[in-house]
């Protein structure tokens, strides 16, 4: 506006004051590298979704909802050949659509949705980890929609989202081979580069490398793996994967109890 002298206009761009503050210097407290934070899991809480789950681990809060199976629009994709295991032909198999969203207030800086590349990458990671577990051959020409919403990021967000998504799918009654349990790890920077299980946000920020593993506990198959950073030689990554798988196995009984409780709740609500 030409020559507007009456209003005081603030700066066009603003940054949060933490960026200019001196570095806190508080190193994350030393802790047992194999400790898992206590987890609160609840399934079957949203009335509008077919299946839903809420997972809280430390400061990380994830809410996941599943809807479907819904008929796929867009006609057939051509009679494809039968899949490798003699399952339903590729064109008839169902589809799993995953969506990962971060609430704008989830991290330290406000990030308005759409979050761009990172959310797409995590949604793809969710899909790749959940597909081995879901019997998509039983839902021909249908699609299942899984949407995960991260309410607060307190470390290992993707792992929590994976676990919540698997719980929500089980709560929705989708046929699955096994649950998928996710676990996050991070490697502390030099000196003392040890792999820490289930890192907090502070540990993740200062980490030299991060890894998320997704395991199907009963079948003992790795459903998903995503890691990056200066992890060092392959032996170090192998040790991290082993630690992560062990963490997933330890988390499994909690999820079983959660699903049993949800089923009882649903039974009690339906009977009278």
């Amino acid at each position: 506006m030409p020559g507007d002298h009456r209003r005081i206009r603030g700066p066009e761009e603003s940054q949060p004051p933490q960026l200019y503050a001196a570095d806190e210097g508080e190193a994350p407290a030393a802790r047992d590298p194999t400790r898992l934070r206590p987890v609160y899991a609840r399934a079957g809480l949203l009335s509008q979704a077919k299946g839903s789950a809420y997972l809280e681990a430390g400061g990380t809060k994830v809410l996941c909802a599943v809807s479907g199976p819904r008929q796929v629009e867009g006609g057939e994709r051509g009679g494809g050949p039968a899949g490798a295991g003699g399952e339903a032909p590729a064109a008839l198999r169902g589809r799993l659509l995953c969506d990962f969203r971060r609430a704008p207030f989830a991290g330290r800086r406000r990030r308005a949705p759409p979050g761009g590349g990172e959310e797409r990458e995590l949604a793809l990671a969710l899909q790749e980890a959940l597909e081995p577990a879901v019997r998509l051959g039983r839902y021909p020409r249908a699609q299942l929609e899984v949407s995960a919403l991260l309410l607060e990021d307190g470390g290992s967000a993707l792992a929590a989202a994976l676990t919540a998504a698997a719980l929500a799918l089980a709560d929705a009654g989708v046929e699955m081979y096994d649950l998928v349990v996710g676990c996050g790890l991070s490697r502390a920077p030099e000196p003392a580069p040890t792999w820490l299980l289930d890192p907090t946000r502070l540990e993740e920020e200062r980490a030299a490398a991060g890894l998320t593993v997704a395991l199907m506990p009963v079948l003992n198959q790795v459903a998903g793996l995503l890691g990056s950073g200066e992890g060092g030689p392959t032996e170090s990554w192998a040790e991290a994967v082993r630690l992560g798988l062990e963490g997933c196995q330890r988390l499994y009984p909690v999820l079983q109890q959660c699903l049993v409780r949800a089923a009882r709740r649903r039974g009690a609500a339906a009977s009278p």
Partner: protein, 291 residues
């Protein structure tokens, strides 16, 4: 990825062959197809490279432009990746079809460069907090013949090796205003050190064994693959499981070891080829797109 229809018998043939360490084109499980690398193919860029791996054809152009450093890292420049899957590669990429694959590849590239040692970002800084070099790495997928990630990472490494960033100086006046001066000599430029730039090795699980550098047909037979990004020293910078199936934990450890072994060999041969091409000097005969 481009899809190819295979009959049940063809799949069985491929799977059984792989069990015996014999693939359809006669390679072993850990052999790459013939790779052709050529740098400096596009004249308008700061660096470019073209890689042909079997039927896969990738063209990478790097442009260095001046920008402002990111707030969290005021002393460093940065890289921006963009991957374009053109409709020439396969008819599935027509219109917006190739966007998903493009974003997936770009995100993987961001991930493998997301650590301090891959590339020296401090050398890209001109004046802290104000000016830095931003390298826009644009990848063009010309033809899709399987094993995209490996070919793209080799092309990106070759293009970064070929990148020549002009040398600039920041001059300060008496009033304190800064002026950027470009040196007069067009050949006076900084080169990047690509010693620690990683390369991706994709290992596809077929039956009970895994193969390196799968063709489209082999990719159709495999349910899950592991993508490992290895530097020339054997340090792993990224790991990712790709595909609809699941992997056994033991096979993951085996695949990582294979990936490291194969990655080291890939790096040594790539380095020797790049240095040999460089030593031929500016008068070398360029093959370009006709060879």
């Amino acid at each position: 990825m481009a899809s190819v229809s295979l009959s049940e018998a063809e799949k069985v043939y491929i799977v059984h062959g792989v069990q015996e360490d014999l693939r359809v084109d006669g390679r072993g499980c850990e052999d790459y197809r013939c790779v052709e690398v050529e740098t400096d193919v596009v004249s308008n860029t700061s660096g470019s490279a073209r890689v042909k791996l079997g039927h896969t054809d990738i063209l990478v152009g790097v442009k260095a432009e001046m920008g402002t450093p990111k707030l969290e890292k005021p002393n460093e420049g940065y890289l921006e990746f963009f991957v374009d899957c053109s409709a020439n590669a396969t008819p599935e990429f027509e219109g917006r079809g190739g966007d998903d694959l493009g974003t997936e590849i770009a995100n993987t590239l961001y991930r493998i460069f997301n650590n301090k040692s891959s590339i020296d970002l401090k050398s890209l800084c001109i004046s802290p907090r104000e000016h830095c070099w931003v390298l826009y790495v644009d990848v063009l997928l010309l033809e899709c013949g399987g094993n995209l990630f490996d070919a793209i990472s080799v092309a990106v490494k070759a293009a970064l090796f070929n990148t020549r960033i002009p040398r600039v100086r920041v001059l300060e006046d008496e009033e304190g205003s800064k002026d950027i001066e470009l040196s007069d000599d067009p050949y006076d430029c900084i080169r990047l050190s690509v010693e620690n730039v990683p390369c991706i090795v994709t290992l596809c699980k077929i039956g009970y064994r895994h193969v390196v550098d799968a063709t489209l047909q082999e990719e159709a037979c495999s349910l899950a693959s592991l993508l490992v990004s290895v530097t020339s020293k054997g340090v792993v910078t990224c790991m990712r499981k790709v595909g609809k199936g699941s992997l056994d934990p033991e096979s993951i450890f085996e695949m990582m070891e294979t990936g490291k072994r194969v990655g080291k060999v890939l790096h040594t041969s790539l380095q020797s080829v790049l240095h040999k091409e460089e030593s031929l000097g500016p008068k070398r005969q360029k093959v370009g797109f006709l060879g």
